[in-house]
Symmetry: D3
Amino acid sequence: MTEFSQDCLARMRRVTTATLTTQLFKRGLRNCFMQGVRPLGQYGANLAGPAFTLRNIPAREDLDRVEGFANPEHPQRKAIETTPAGHVLVVDCRGDARAASGGEILMTRLMTRGAAGMVSDGGIRDSAPISRLAMPVYCAGPSAPLNLAVHHATELQVPIGCGGVAVYPGDLIVGDADGIVVVPAHLAEEIAVAAEAQERLEEFVLTRIQQGAALPGTYPPNAETLAAYEAWKASQ
Amino acid sequence: MTEFSQDCLARMRRVTTATLTTQLFKRGLRNCFMQGVRPLGQYGANLAGPAFTLRNIPAREDLDRVEGFANPEHPQRKAIETTPAGHVLVVDCRGDARAASGGEILMTRLMTRGAAGMVSDGGIRDSAPISRLAMPVYCAGPSAPLNLAVHHATELQVPIGCGGVAVYPGDLIVGDADGIVVVPAHLAEEIAVAAEAQERLEEFVLTRIQQGAALPGTYPPNAETLAAYEAWKASQ
Amino acid sequence: MTEFSQDCLARMRRVTTATLTTQLFKRGLRNCFMQGVRPLGQYGANLAGPAFTLRNIPAREDLDRVEGFANPEHPQRKAIETTPAGHVLVVDCRGDARAASGGEILMTRLMTRGAAGMVSDGGIRDSAPISRLAMPVYCAGPSAPLNLAVHHATELQVPIGCGGVAVYPGDLIVGDADGIVVVPAHLAEEIAVAAEAQERLEEFVLTRIQQGAALPGTYPPNAETLAAYEAWKASQ
Amino acid sequence: MTEFSQDCLARMRRVTTATLTTQLFKRGLRNCFMQGVRPLGQYGANLAGPAFTLRNIPAREDLDRVEGFANPEHPQRKAIETTPAGHVLVVDCRGDARAASGGEILMTRLMTRGAAGMVSDGGIRDSAPISRLAMPVYCAGPSAPLNLAVHHATELQVPIGCGGVAVYPGDLIVGDADGIVVVPAHLAEEIAVAAEAQERLEEFVLTRIQQGAALPGTYPPNAETLAAYEAWKASQ
Amino acid sequence: MTEFSQDCLARMRRVTTATLTTQLFKRGLRNCFMQGVRPLGQYGANLAGPAFTLRNIPAREDLDRVEGFANPEHPQRKAIETTPAGHVLVVDCRGDARAASGGEILMTRLMTRGAAGMVSDGGIRDSAPISRLAMPVYCAGPSAPLNLAVHHATELQVPIGCGGVAVYPGDLIVGDADGIVVVPAHLAEEIAVAAEAQERLEEFVLTRIQQGAALPGTYPPNAETLAAYEAWKASQ
Amino acid sequence: MTEFSQDCLARMRRVTTATLTTQLFKRGLRNCFMQGVRPLGQYGANLAGPAFTLRNIPAREDLDRVEGFANPEHPQRKAIETTPAGHVLVVDCRGDARAASGGEILMTRLMTRGAAGMVSDGGIRDSAPISRLAMPVYCAGPSAPLNLAVHHATELQVPIGCGGVAVYPGDLIVGDADGIVVVPAHLAEEIAVAAEAQERLEEFVLTRIQQGAALPGTYPPNAETLAAYEAWKASQ
């Protein structure tokens, strides 16, 4: 199982997904932000944790019946019971929000087991109570129908697509009000540091802009602005 | 006109659309939840009432002029004036939200006439004041353009499609924060009872999950959990 | 640069986009409301101001690099620095919300420069802090990725499309909770007056409807209602 | 039942749908061409005939079973048996091509009954043999699934939408290789004459263009070109 | 590896996908026809063979480089080299046709290895020469870009989605001019027999319809027509 | 005006768009193939020539009237009259095929003026005769409505988007049966040579594959295959 340092995770909880996409863009990664996946509630700190993945394919009427849930090996239920604490359950629904990928009981169980959050490119039912849970849940929107009407859960911990982005088990998932960015595991530590540095500078830049500075020379900063930033940083 | 018992309607106001789609799924009905139709406001109890239907076709420039509204037989206006008290006006806009299917004056009139609510797979104009009405309104989103720019109202009380679901006049329409489910009239009484029973059990299950129970044996419940549930129910 | 009278702008801040689309419809303009463009925050008075336009084309990997922002002539940055006070920056992103068309620093600079607002049919990053700015921002939704991943800014102050609507520099842009309507510059003064008159009448009509009046004769008003309206107006 | 003169129908079989949309545009009708509806085969003369309409809503699993076809009143079957000779059966499938709106046996029966053709914004099964029938068939594409999987036929001879265009029973339907245009019944005779005149002139213009004439003065024609055209016409 | 009888495969090569969807509908399977997947060429007999599956996820820029193809274990290349003779390679591209899932060299190799065909819900490059191969190829359309621009091949022989339908390794894939139907392996033998019987009867019905018979009593056939059919069948 | 060598153009007419996207991918350009743009006819050699661009925005009812075409400066007409011989007219219709971007007379004039071809991400009317012209025409599909119903031509020779790809005036446009690839002007000469070399090698590889060679070692070729290729090349 991927391990990220506590420093890395703490930084990821503070920076924005906007900053992270910029850092990934600088490293040649343009397709890292999930399309059509939004937070159900309003959350304080970012969602941040390694991905634990569940893959769905289209349902088939003779296979996908409610009786199947009695089997503790049913992959949807098993995903809830095996996502490690601190991890994010990421569910590939092929971007199809016509049915739910989970509801209040499953999300509550996931939360009590210590998961960091849940991300799906399908729907979520019971969206009102789930939006009030302490655990962040991201999805393609509220959708009441039972998952079996559209989705068949097949596999855990394989590479998946979610919101049009590749997600490998153990990639670092970060979410804020804009949505979800997937940081490849091997880049996470480095990007956490770079993102925090970028945001520190942008905090300074924003203050200047709020005080009336023009963009040229300020954003991006020229040598003078950078010197002022260094002085400001030293003074804190 | 379809009549549902007061018990049925009361139950439908309490259960979730998620539970109703599960009950319908068990009876072979998979396509019962409107896609792309969302509540404009936040409402307390569910919207619940029999469907009164209005059908639109695409507008034609020479036919759809503002002068037409002076005719009290204009089907859009007539729909507002004839939806029976307690009923839900359901409007087929072919899922086209480029124009409105109603605005503040019409929604206010519908409410004062005692309608239970309004559901459309087109747009709604004046979305801000309408979202604050006591009467629930569901639609494909805010959309300012006059209905005549895109929609031509043709018929009342015929079977329609709305949000991709068949709606027959008199079907029971139920809405919560997730969206709208259409319960065929002949199934409504039976499903109201079954849904309430399901939710009672799930309330018990959720409590156990909140207390740390694992899914296997709890959800779905095994014999032991069911026995505990029966004891709990008896104790209340 | 187009100039609108202060009266015109004041009226436009009070009327709804619904009323404006009706006025434009009566003048033969059916396609004037941006599709898929929504307010990021909740704003008091309407957004209203002349359009200042920026056009984007798809990005190309060898041309769209972060180094480009250091050039003060970069059209995206130049747009922020040259939108006149009271104007609305309108950005053509070809309806593609896979990346941002701006973030917190740029929006803050635009606001401090006195712009009336920003409208884009692309995404916006840093959506949470931007939604709390005093300046209204409308877009196709939150989207974290750097604009360079998808968009290449090319030109200022040319006619553009935004949300499927033609926008000519100097057209009057008006936005409320429903969304954005584009009023051709040559019609703005006339329509502002007509819209206010329409809303005055509809305010009276709404009061009657709230008191229980039926639609026929009231909405649209017949001679009797119009006479009552004139009396009411005179009495105020 | 609408009657068009034999002259009108003969002209409509010769002109193009491009010309017809231009004539309708000049009369204020912009939305008259079905979107997403294409010919299955290659046909000689145009499809031309009055519309006979069939409306579908979404299927419901408990109502839409194969046994229903044994009822001769089943609207899909009745549509095939009652479309008058020379008419075009136009089928509203809400633009949903996930299932068929007809197959080889029904299309053959429609042809033997003398219908002019069939137009649907749903799918068609048995597309290969149907594309070789003498009767033109237009649809949203080949699609094998049984109509009952997605569509429920409800009504004959009501106004419908098809391909995003309003179709009233008796409107004149014209189809060529570009697709289908709907000519409102009251305009058909007039437009047939105007379209033929336009095409005669364009035939002359095209000859000049083929001979190397430039667009200015030729297309649209100036007085000199018009005079030459009149002379050419007189000489034939 | 699934084995179907030679009789079953021979029947499947003769019947239509329309008939197969009807047989599956009668057994409760409504979602069995791939949406948006069409034949590249015109083929004589049906494509028919067991599914051999390949799964793709979205590409990631740092992982998906042309050098990867030198590895004989690259799943795309391995799929071509291991699809058993008589099988159909079915490729899950998440319905994304922005890039190819194969080109002329790979399709030629697949053909020389004896595969029955290839089905993808992504694009195909070199569509012109591939459309002339003896081996049927179905896809979402011609698309030149290298697969690595959009797709990352991950796994062979797992359940996938293709064209919105579940495909399990060994399911029977059948394709004609309408498109592709997926017959679950356990139903294939039974359905092949039933489909052939249905088509025999429909051949008789079609002859009657061609001779002028009306639908009622003929399609579906009543007792008299069925008796005539039995006599006709016996006479052959 | 961009000039490409005759050798470059001759090579571009022979290679495939598939090969060109591979060459561009190797140089970091992934988004170079127009999505949703297809050839109207079947053409022999590739379309190849520098881009001459025309930009459209959405139409506005009061501005876009047929009378406008009488003005020889109307940008659509001017585009036809000024595209240099050997160039490709590339038209940005924002991917909207609801109306035409040209018809038979304009395409004929463009051809007689010596243009290499026409590419649009909008529709084309008169698709049947245009598909038989010697000059290749690519578009989003047949669409009869007059351009003015949806499109307003604004500018010539500015950077545009077409089919989701950036097109700068003078970029090299190449089209075959798969579709259209845009080669940035500065890369064209180099890529033409590299593409031809790649295709020469792939011709040899394909022959080996046709003779039964397996992919490993052959495609991509290992040292042995490359040596055999060099020998074969030398022998020719």
